[in-house]
């Protein structure tokens, strides 16, 4: 297989200069493959690749790699998410050799949420390595064909298209762009950001990345999460660490339901407003220099992705190469 053929669809779209779209697919709290297929149906053709979360918020779900393979078989290119919370360097490297062997090509390296947030708060965490060390290990594996201990990988080494996350809204704010620089130095080729609601701070963050000369070195996908209702907006504003939701957004969500008495109708109105806000956010981030695409995190609401992408004028997506989304 030549180098070019091995590129993922996401990598090709980003390299071609098209504005990329990624989405998120949360695996089920169960073993039913039909759930993945149903979600894949909602996302196929609406995004260039789809992140498969890894025990997100420390809640046990179907494995990211297994769900990624199911998504790939269903014609949706996955981005495997790998956290450092649940596995040590042996397990991570072993699982990722397997992921590559199964034909998975995109990898997002994360530290992971603390297990106290999840449904097994008594679990022992791992954090043998952190996300930056994980990036470096996988970059070295791809570039130099070595494991974390320097030993050679047998045969063709995995060359994942490596990504990382960054939260422009976490403190200390001045450090965040430098953290991106560190992740790029470690091997990240794309960055997906935390959900953006505070556009001014995000603009500022992008400007700093520009000052650091990072915008030619890494593709930044702006993270957006459509709101389902004022409850979710308030929850994100008040309860989720590292989230910055301005009051205007919350007020807008509240206002969307004003005067609607029927519960179902009100919920519909909230969701329509959430989608509208997200479409406007896409227009805004497209104007910001250096933004290479959007990462739409419609949490347990995969139905929202297509109308958002369509509403933002981003359909149709560039055609994947034949066979690009198939295992092999």
């Amino acid at each position: 297989m030549s180098q070019t053929d091995a590129r993922s669809n996401l990598e090709r779209v980003l390299e071609s200069g098209s504005f990329a779209v990624t989405a998120e697919l949360g695996p089920p709290k169960g073993a039913d493959p039909a759930v993945i297929r149903r979600k894949a149906d909602l996302l196929r053709g609406a995004a260039d690749a789809v992140n498969i979360t890894d025990n997100q918020t420390a809640v046990v779900r179907m494995s990211s790699i297994a769900a990624a393979l199911l998504a790939q078989q269903a014609g949706v290119e996955p981005v495997v998410q790998m956290t450092c919370r649940d596995r040590n360097r042996l397990a991570i490297q072993a699982d990722l050799l397997g992921a590559w062997a199964l034909g998975l090509r995109n990898l997002l390296c994360l530290s992971g949420d603390h297990q106290t947030f999840g449904n097994h708060p008594g679990a022992k965490n791992v954090w043998d390595i952190d996300s930056i060390q994980l990036l470096k290990i996988m970059a070295d594996m791809g570039d130099r064909g070595v494991f974390a201990n320097g030993e050679e990988v047998e045969g063709e080494p995995p060359r994942f298209f490596l990504g990382a996350a960054e939260n422009p809204f976490a403190e200390p704010y001045p450090y965040r762009p430098f953290r991106v620089a560190k992740k790029v130095k470690a091997g990240a080729r794309f960055i997906q950001t935390q959900c953006i609601y505070n556009m001014d701070r995000f603009r500022e963050f992008m400007a700093r990345l520009g000052d650091l000369g990072l915008l030619d070195k890494v593709y930044v996908l702006a993270g957006l999460s459509p709101l389902k209702g004022p409850g979710m907006a308030k929850y994100m504003r008040d309860q989720v660490p590292g989230m910055d939701v301005p009051d205007e957004i919350v007020d807008r969500m509240v206002a969307a339901g004003k005067g609607i008495d029927d519960k179902a109708e009100r919920s519909k109105a909230f969701r329509a407003e959430g989608i509208r806000i997200c479409i406007e956010q896409i227009q805004e981030v497209r104007e910001i220099p250096g933004v290479a695409g959007v990462h739409i995190m419609a949490i347990e609401w995969e139905e929202a992705v297509r109308p958002i992408v369509e509403g933002a004028g981003l359909l149709p997506r560039p055609q994947p190469l034949p066979g690009a989304a198939e295992a092999g």
Partner: protein
Amino acid sequence: MIVAEQKPLDEILALTEGAERVAVLGCGTCVTVCFAGGEKEAEVLAASLRMRARVQGRSLDATHGVVQRQCEWEYLDAARPSLEGVDCVVSLACGVGVQAMVERFPELRTVPGLNTKFYGLPTEHGVWEARCAGCGDCVLGLTDGICPVARCSKSLLNGPCGGSQGGKCEISPDTPCAWHLIYERMEALGHLDRLAEIQPPKDWSPGPSGGPGRIVREDLRRGPPPAEESEPAQPSSLLAS
């Protein structure tokens, strides 16, 4: 110091099940300083055990005592007379002290009265916080004296994660973010460039991951090691009689 806190009374009482004469043995070192297992706490616990047992209709005699340091075999001999005829000791020492008791008095039943929590210090009256996790390969020199292993909830080595907000860790508004503290200190000292360096994966083998800790200082060892060096010092004949 080693910081510990007392187990719930009913749990301690249950641990002594079947015993009629219980001795509560405090320790005069770390756990005295953190008000968990000193003489005073031993006295109060002995009284509480007696009362609680009476309520439950159980016959229990509980006395109390303290040794200067429960984590060294030699210091335990001072407690020997007070343990005569006792059929269960509730140790109010850290986990090291409990085991030192078991090793010094192997025929005596010793149960823990404390939960040993961490190596730390008091940050205000009545508040203790972890400072060290005994990782065996100290990185304080890289982080300007603030430990990311014990004080970052994820033991990260390359800077703050995305959950850091308002100087607090994502796990709780009561937990300072270690990396926020490190950042501020590096900034104040003009060392922020250090944060740009990628710290490689840590070698955890010098700490608990490498198996039970053991240090041998040949310069301090006296004479040839005893034939069965893993055996505890001579067992007490206290209970054999």
